[in-house]
Every structure is written in C-alpha cells, then in structure tokens.
C-alpha cells in the first residue's frame, strides 16, 4: 500500500544528513590532511593530534572556538525528528538551522585564514585573533554538506517545488558547487581586472585598458593588424558554422543513407576528439609548414616558392575544424536520430518529396541540435589554446593573449582579466543568440507511443554533396593521423627518416628488476596520474551535467535562467583563465587544494560539465513530458522517475558526456598547465615540455600512445553503456 509521506514521522533522508553532520563534527578531521586519499591520519595521533582532530576535540582543547556555534545548528534538527513534514515548525527549524550553519561556515571560512582575520575591518572590529585556520578537510566538508541539505529539506517541506526533496536538494547542491568552483574563483579573477599596480582597486583605470586598440583595433581593414577580439570572433564564427555543417553531414550519412561502412565512419569521427589539441597542430605543420610534406612536394612540382601561409587563420581554422567537428557530430547524431520517423513519413504522405520533407520537417526539427552544435563549436574555438599557440603566427587570439599576459614577461593580471571579460561577452552573446533563434517551438518527437517508422534516405540533391564532403574530410583526417603515426616512428622529422621505436622505448620502458616490475619509462608517472584523474572526473562530470540538464528541462523554479547561466559559465571561460582563477582562489583557506590531484579533478568537472548539460538538454527536450508525469502518477517519486525512466532513455547522452569528459581530462592543456605539480603531472603538460625542448619524436610518440589508450576507453564505455532499444527503427544498411 502506498504510504503518504506527509503523514510519516520518520524521514530517512533527514536522519542521514543529521548523522552526517554529527559525524563530520565529532569524528572526522576538521581540517585538510596531507593527501586527500591517504588515510595515514587514522594511525597518526587521531583524534587528539591537533592537525587531525575533529572540530569537537579542537574546541575541547580550547582552540578554534569560532566553530562552537555550529553545535547549535547541529542540535536543532534533532527536535523535528518525530514530527510531520506538514508542521510549520519542521520547515522552520530546518531552514534556520541549515541556513545558519552553512552561512556561519562560509563566513568563518572566508573571514579567518592562515594569519588570523583576513580583512582589516574584522581586526578593527573584533580585535586581533591569536588563532588561525587551514583549509577545510573531510569533517568541514561533510558538515557543510549536511547543513546545505538540511536547509534544502526545510525549503522542500515549506512547499517549494511541490515539496520535492530530491529536486530541491539537487538544485541546492548544484548551486553550491557551481558557486564555490565557478563563481568564487571567477569573482576573484575579475576583481583582478580592477586591480591597480599598487595593490588597490580602481574603476577608472579599467576603461582605458578595456578599450585598448590591441583588443578592438580594425587595422586589418586597411593594412595594419586587427585587435585580438576581432580575430577571435571571426575564427569562432567560422569554426562554429563549419563544424556544425560538417558534423551534420556525418550524422546524415550515418542515419539517412545506405552507406555500408558506418561503423568505420563513426570511429573516424571520434579520432580527433581523442587527440591532444596541439598534436593536430603539429601534424598540420608537418604537412603544410615551411618544410612540410605537402608544401615541399607542391613547391617541387609547380616551382612555386614555399611560404608560411599556414601560420595564422588558415592553420588555426583547419586544426580547430579537425578537432571540434566530432563534438558537433556527437551532439547532432542524437538529434538527427531523435527526429521521429513518423513525422518524416507523414510529410511524405502529404505529397512532399524527399527534398521538401527534409527542408520543411527534418531540418526544422534538427534546429535545436544545430544551434547547440554551433554554440559548442563557437565556444570551443574561443577557448582553444593549444592550436593557436602552435599555429597562430601573427594571428593573435584572446586565449593565447591571456596566457602570455600572465605567463610572459608582462605578468599583467589585470590585462588578462580584461581580455577574459571580452571573451566572456562573446560567448554569452552566442548563448543568447541561440536562445533567440530557437524561440519557443516545441521539438518533442519521442513520445510515449512506440515509433514504428524508419528514417527516409536523404534527397539526392543533398546526398551527393554530403557524400563528397564526408569522403574528402575523412581522407584528410586519415592523412593527418597517418602523419602523426609516421612521425612517431622516424628518427628526426625532415632530417633523418630512418624508422625507429626509440621514442616509444624512452617513454614507456618497463624493466624487470629485483623488486619485480619497474616502470622506468619517462612517461609513466604523468601517464598514470592522467588516467587516475580522468577516471575520477568522467563519471562525476556526467552525473552533475545530467542532473543539471534534468533540472533545467524538467523542473520549474525561481531563478532558473540564472541557474542555467551559472552552469554554462565555466565553459565560456578559457582554460587559461580558469587555471589562473583556481590558483588565486584555492591557494589559501578555506579551500586549499592547489598542488593536489583534487584541484585537477575539480577543474575538469566544472570545465566539462556544460557538455554533459548540453547533451542532456538536447536529448531530454525530445522526451515527452507525459513520460515523467505518468511515472509520477504511478507513485514513483522524482528521483525514482529520474533513475528508472529518464536515465535509461538518455543512454546516448550519458555516453557522450562520459566519453567527452574522460577524453577532455586526458587531452586538456590550457587549465592544466597552471594546476599541475611535481607530484601530479599530467600527460599533456609533460608533452608540451618535450615540445619546448624540441623533442618532437617523444612528444608525438607519447601522444600516439595516448590516442590508443583513449580509443580503448571509448570502446569500453560504448560497450558498458550500451544502446537503448526504443523502436523498430533499423538502419538502412542492414537489409531493410
């Protein structure tokens, strides 16, 4: 029999979080311990050693007395344990206790740091503080989470979102983590935009730097050079449009043609995703550079002089197209498959020919996907750092400028921050344009009825150019990858063409010593670190991304637009800025995680989460809402609905999110280069180091090895997640 939860007086979720709060306060070490995953503290003086002591013990020893008020907030919820949710007291106590506890933790965390009070006015107000505190540890984290979720349960009990605990907690949780790991560091970074040389802040100083000719100049229209802002904008629009069209071409060939080798094509489109970005840049130099294979052979054939034309816009554009087309493809394949065949069949029966059907039905239904793909391409191009670094020549773009502003001789934090503001403006502009274009149309095509149709083939007029484009592009991709593979086994590119495995041996040597197996290759350290970080980051990214997408498409709550903006923000900011922002924000308490593996995992989660969100939104907006509603009326709560109905239907989106975040974690460079440490070095930063030493052979060999590892990982994930059978649809090639 269905129990009605409002009448129950036991609340398992509430009990869980109350216990969690007490465990965090009474048992776990309150402050950060050396090494997040090491449990040395258990045998090293805990719980009485003051480095490892829980908050309660510290207070007992007369230290960190500002943690004492939290006891009140922890005790209060015990009062409501036996009460009903409908009682006003229940909601009130949880909101006050959770809210106060969380706010107090934030306030003391920001207010009290390594040297007592962090701000002068606090010292003036309260007098100097003798004590000090370090970064949050397990105890503080668990207790803070407990306060947060007690608060959201209170909000739910008051009737927000129909009293849905899962949804309110999910919203609260996502807002909290996004605030801490996106807004907080970005705010610290932006504060730097107003910083003056003498350590103060000034608004007047901001504008001349913002309107600088080096950013907004239009010299290239006459004979000079344009500002970096225009360069980035032109490049990003081109990349966005072209990747969308190329991605669409691949998606169409895969779903709407009788092409036989679809699997091969699918694999080919995945290749560039699993390639560290600068590797494509390197390969393009090997092909088209001054002494590149193509350049020299063309020069020899036609007697034209070899030039450096590839450096600049053509080179970056080509490299970014190679790198980002697959992202557009991954977004579009779901959308193109999601267009209900019966719609297209209906159009055909309404006397539309195949071309008219495509133009009037299929194409408009694909529009949300197209807009998403464009947006992703645009933002990726804006934020890309590896390719412009390798291929840019005199064509400066915002992301590299930011990098040089911070790393170069200038060391000008405020200029970097100003460039970041410009970049953010562009990406947000793209975001709103996309909204405007999509309008308010409904694109729901997967309804609760089983679909028995089959996608029609493309019209001939479309098929021919699409085939041509896909064939050309595939051939080009193959050549680029051939170059990479070949480059990894020659002695010295362009000088000594003897084949050799020495680069692989240097990087990945394994020897059998007296202590058993020894990983003596120079790459192993960074390799294992990378694998570990990527494995940790991928599922977390996918989970947060999909939950966010669920909230955005399926729930209505105040401030939803702001919420969506917040979750997209980290994606709109290039990795270089994220890297610097994280260093600024997380080098000091309350969250002190620079130099750990954790900061890498976190930066990956919040850098890549928007992809999960986008993929989730694109698929979820095609699932009819009556599916959720019928599940709810059948007695499942929103969490059960999410798990049993939405998630299984979202498998393609989950796969996309998992693959993408894993691979991005292994190939990312821009943020990583700031965040790595001697203990946690990542493959990409190690490779860049090799490139800087002109050790191209080892760099390319290592990259090739990475590509194969990721290929294996992608295949494995595809196997694990599997495919959801939702219709009788068969693809055309399989004997239909």
């Amino acid at each position: 029999m269905r129990a009605v939860s409002l009448e129950r007086t036991t609340h398992p979720v509430l009990i869980f979080w109350i216990i969690a709060g007490w465990v965090g306060y009474l048992i776990l070490p309150w402050y950060g311990v050396e090494g997040f995953w090491s449990f040395e503290w258990l045998v090293d003086g805990w719980p009485l050693d003051e480095d490892y002591a829980p908050a309660a013990v510290l207070i007992g020893m007369g230290q960190k007395l500002w943690l004492a008020p939290l006891l009140l907030a922890l005790a209060a919820p015990l009062m409501v344990l036996g009460r009903r949710k409908t009682e006003p007291l229940y909601a009130k106590v949880l909101i006050v206790a959770g809210g106060f506890g969380f706010a107090w933790m934030v306030a003391q965390g920001l207010g009290i740091g390594l040297r007592g009070f962090n701000a002068d006015w606090l010292t003036t107000l309260l007098g100097p503080l003798e004590d000090r505190q370090f970064g949050m540890g397990y105890g503080a984290m668990v207790t803070a989470s407990a306060f947060l979720f007690l608060f959201t349960q209170g909000i739910a009990a008051r009737g927000a979102i129909n009293g849905d605990v899962f949804v309110t907690s999910a919203i609260g949780g996502v807002i909290a983590v996004v605030s801490v790991f996106v807004f907080f560091p970005i705010a610290k970074m932006l504060l730097a935009a107003f910083a003056t040389d003498d350590g103060g802040y000034s608004v007047i100083g901001f504008f001349p730097k913002f309107l600088d000719n080096r950013i907004w100049g239009l010299g290239c229209l006459s004979d000079g050079r344009c500002g970096v802002a225009w360069n980035s904008l032109v490049l990003a629009v081109l990349v966005g449009v072209l990747t969308t069209l190329l991605g669409l071409a691949f998606a169409l060939v895969l779903t709407r043609s009788g092409f036989r080798y679809k699997r091969l094509l699918r694999a080919l489109t995945v290749l560039p995703i699993i390639t560290p970005p600068f590797v494509i840049g390197l390969a393009i130099i090997l092909l088209f550079g001054l002494s590149g294979t193509v350049t020299t052979s063309l020069a020899g054939l036609f007697g034209v002089e070899a030039t450096r034309w590839i450096y600049g816009l053509p080179g970056i554009l080509t490299a970014q197209l190679l790198a980002f087309t697959p992202i557009a493809f991954l977004v579009l394949i779901g959308v193109v498959e999601g267009v209900s065949p019966s719609m297209e069949e209906a159009a055909q029966t309404l006397r539309a020919n195949r071309w008219q059907t495509f133009r009037t039905v299929s194409w408009p239904l694909m529009r949300p996907g197209l807009a998403n793909a464009f947006l992703l391409g645009f933002i990726e191009s804006m934020a890309d750092f590896g390719n412009p670094l390798v291929l840019g020549g005199n064509f400066d773009v915002l992301s590299t400028e930011i990098f040089f502003a911070i790393v170069g001789a200038q060391y000008d934090q405020s200029r970097a921050a100003i460039l970041a503001v410009v970049l953010l403006g562009f990406t947000l502009g793209a975001f709103y344009l996309q909204r405007f274009w999509l309008g308010k149309k409904s694109y729901t095509t997967v309804t609760g009825k089983g679909d028995a149709g089959v996608h029609p083939a493309m019209p001939r007029g479309l098929a021919v150019p699409v085939y041509a484009i896909v064939a050309l592009w595939s051939a080009f991709t193959l050549v680029v990858y051939g170059m990479i593979l070949y480059g990894s086994v020659v002695q010295l590119w362009g000088v000594d063409d003897t084949l050799t495995f020495k680069h692989y041996i240097t990087a990945f040597r394994v020897s059998w010593g007296e202590n058993g197996l020894r990983w003596t290759g120079s790459a192993w350290d960074s390799f294992w670190t990378t694998i570990m970080i990527a494995t940790l980051a991928a599922p977390l990214t996918a989970a947060i991304g999909l939950i966010t997408a669920y909230l955005l498409t399926r729930q209505d709550f105040a401030g939803k637009r702001a919420f969506e903006f917040g979750t997209m923000l980290s994606f709109a900011i290039p990795g270089t800025v994220i890297g610097v922002a994280y260093i600024l924000a997380f080098n000091v308490p309350p969250i002190e995680i620079t130099g750990t593996g954790l900061i890498l995992v976190i930066s990956f989660i919040f850098r890549n989460m928007p992809v999960g969100v986008r993929a989730g939104i694109a698929s979820m907006s095609q699932l009819d809402k009556s599916l959720d509603e019928s599940s709810l009326t059948l007695g499942a709560n929103s969490w059960q609905t999410f798990r049993a109905v939405i998630l299984p239907l979202l498998r393609p989106a989950i796969l996309a999110a998992l693959v993408y975040s894993f691979v991005r974690a292994m190939t990312a460079i821009s943020a990583v280069i700031f965040l790595v440490s001697a203990r946690y070095d990542m493959s990409t930063s190690y490779i860049i180091g090799r490139v800087e030493n002109n050790d191209y052979g080892l760099a390319i060999a290592y990259s090739t090895a990475l590509i194969f590892v990721m290929l294996a990982a992608v295949g494995l994930l595809q196997l694990l997640v599997g495919r959801t059978q939702i219709g009788r649809r068969t693809s055309h090639g399989e004997g239909h």
Binding site: G163, G448, S626, S630, L632, L634, R728
Partner: protein, 360 residues
Amino acid sequence: MTGINAKAASVRFENVSKVFGSKVTAVDNIDLEVKAGTLVTLLGPSGCGKTTTLRMIAGLEMTTKGSIFIGDKDVTRLPATDRDVSMVFQSYALFPHMTVMENVSYGLKFSGFDKAETKEKALAGLGLVGLTGYGGRLPSELSGGQQQRVAVARALVLEPQVLLFDEPLSNLDAKLRRQVREEIREIQQKLGLTVVYVTHDQEEALAVSDEIVVMRNAAIAQKGTPRELYEAPADAFVADFIGEANLIEVEITALEGTTATVRIADYTHRLPSRGLRQGPAKLAVRPSRMRLVAGAGDGVAAVIDKATYVGSRMEYTVTAAFGTVFAVLDDVVTPFQVGDAVTISFAASGPVLIPADQRR
C-alpha cells in the same frame, strides 16, 4: 479472482482556481464532487479547463486557490507521487525502453509490493484488459489499441482511489473507440472504480458517464446525468454541445403554474416553463424531436432545403420564418423532396425552454 480490487474514494473541489503565469485563468473558482465508485466525465471544447482540472486531481498541477479532497483527506498540497491516483495519458506515455510487463509493474515496484505480488497483480491487470501473453513485448511492437490497454492496465493495477483518463480514445480509430470505451466502462463498473474522464467528444461522454460536467471558459456550465444534460440543458451552450440542438427564438406569452405558452411565428406550443418569465426565450429542439408534415397544417410553414439519405434515416434542412433548422426523420420509404412545402411542429416531450441570453 482478478487480484485487483478498488479502493474507490470520492473527489471534492472547493472553490478551486488555477492561474497560469499572472493572467491566464485556466480554472475559475469551481466546486465539484465526484462520488466514490462513479464515472464522471469532464466535457467541453478545447481550452475550457477540463484537462487542467484533471491534472489538478492528479497533482501534476497545483491549485492557485481552493482545496481538493480525495476521500476525506485534503490533498491540495500533495504532489502527484504521494496521491493515490493514477492517470491514463492521451499519448499513453508508455515507457519505450521497458517491456509491457515492466511498464505494468512499474508503479507496483514503488508501492511496497514484493516480487511475487507485483507479478501476480501485473498479470491480473494484463488479463483484465485482454493482453495475457503480451508481457514480453515492447510498446513499439503493439498496435495503438493494445498500447492503450497497456496504459489502462498500468494505471489499474495500483488500485488507485481515483483513476484519471485524459482523452484516452483520441488516438484510436472509430470502431476501436467504441469497443475500448465499453471495456473501460465495464471494468469501472465491475471493480467499482472512481473514474474522472476528460473528453471533448459528447457521444463518448454520454455513453460512458454516470455524470457529466460540461465546462466552458474555465467554469462549469452544467453538471448532471447524461439524460439530464441531454433532455434539460441549462443554456444554449450546453444544448448545442451535448448533441445537436435547433435553437429557435420564441416569445413566452403566458404562464400557468409551471407550464408556459410560447409563440413561434403564428404557432403556439405549451411546455414546462423551467422557471423562465414572460418575454423572449429560446426553444431547444433536438433534430429527432422535430415533426414534419406535408402541406399546410397546425404548425409553422416551411420549405425543404436539403434532403440527405443516410441509410437508417433521412436528414433535412428546413427553412421557416424563424430561420433554418435541422430535422431527422425515420421515414426513409417516402421521403420529402427538396422544395416540398411542409409544416413544422414539435414532439410533446423533448423540446425545452432555455434563457434567451447566453451567460458568458
């Protein structure tokens, strides 16, 4: 034997309003009572608020104002999950990635039944809708009618206090529609379920309901048994919406107790006054209650405009001094021809007086 019983409960709306955004009033201050074990239909043109009313019973929409009771319990603030109500959707909303059996068992899993009970109940549900043996199929492998029955079974097996149907037959062909609606009615009566049923098809409503609630412009226009609504519509809207009706402008010339004398052109007719006063009124006459006689006689002179043979009867469009009316006669052997002069009169029972002004 079936393993499925009813826990039917009543539904009560008290002053319920629903406003979307700040302006759009979908439901405006309605009171409604659905007795336990009855099938009540919400009927009305699209946009009249009937689906919103249904979704408020389900808990998929929350009221802006007023209270909803299921049984004796105030459920106004309860979300859908916690209400003992199930719903059959217009699109069926079968989960495409689950088999029929999994779909039907879905709600049972969350209701605290153990595996054996769940299976037993799901099988009983499938048996009840005549789909025994289809458990292993995917929804996409079923016909429309079968999908519809799976949706019904899925809702039924939970033994809800109230079972809701949102235009369940609109995706079915006509023949199947009659069959499925009869099945729904049969199951409802057999199990004694409380059912609230939304439709815009008046014939469907008349056929299945214990009581019909006609809605218009976010409010209730009239409620009553099918016979009451058909034979004694409260106003022109209801008269026209429930079955066709000829609305003839008349003048009430005299009142004697509850009997009114009305004048239509030169003809006078006596019928119950239904509380109306002297003055202009409207006479609602079903096409089947029109009497046509050849030539001149006691009644209103008219001319046949159109004559249509539809097999079991004749349909005529007739023009008289008061306008054009529609009449249906059973005599197919010697039909009138277009242009024939006839005299119109009305059957002794059937025509009813309604107020002249339409309340809007």
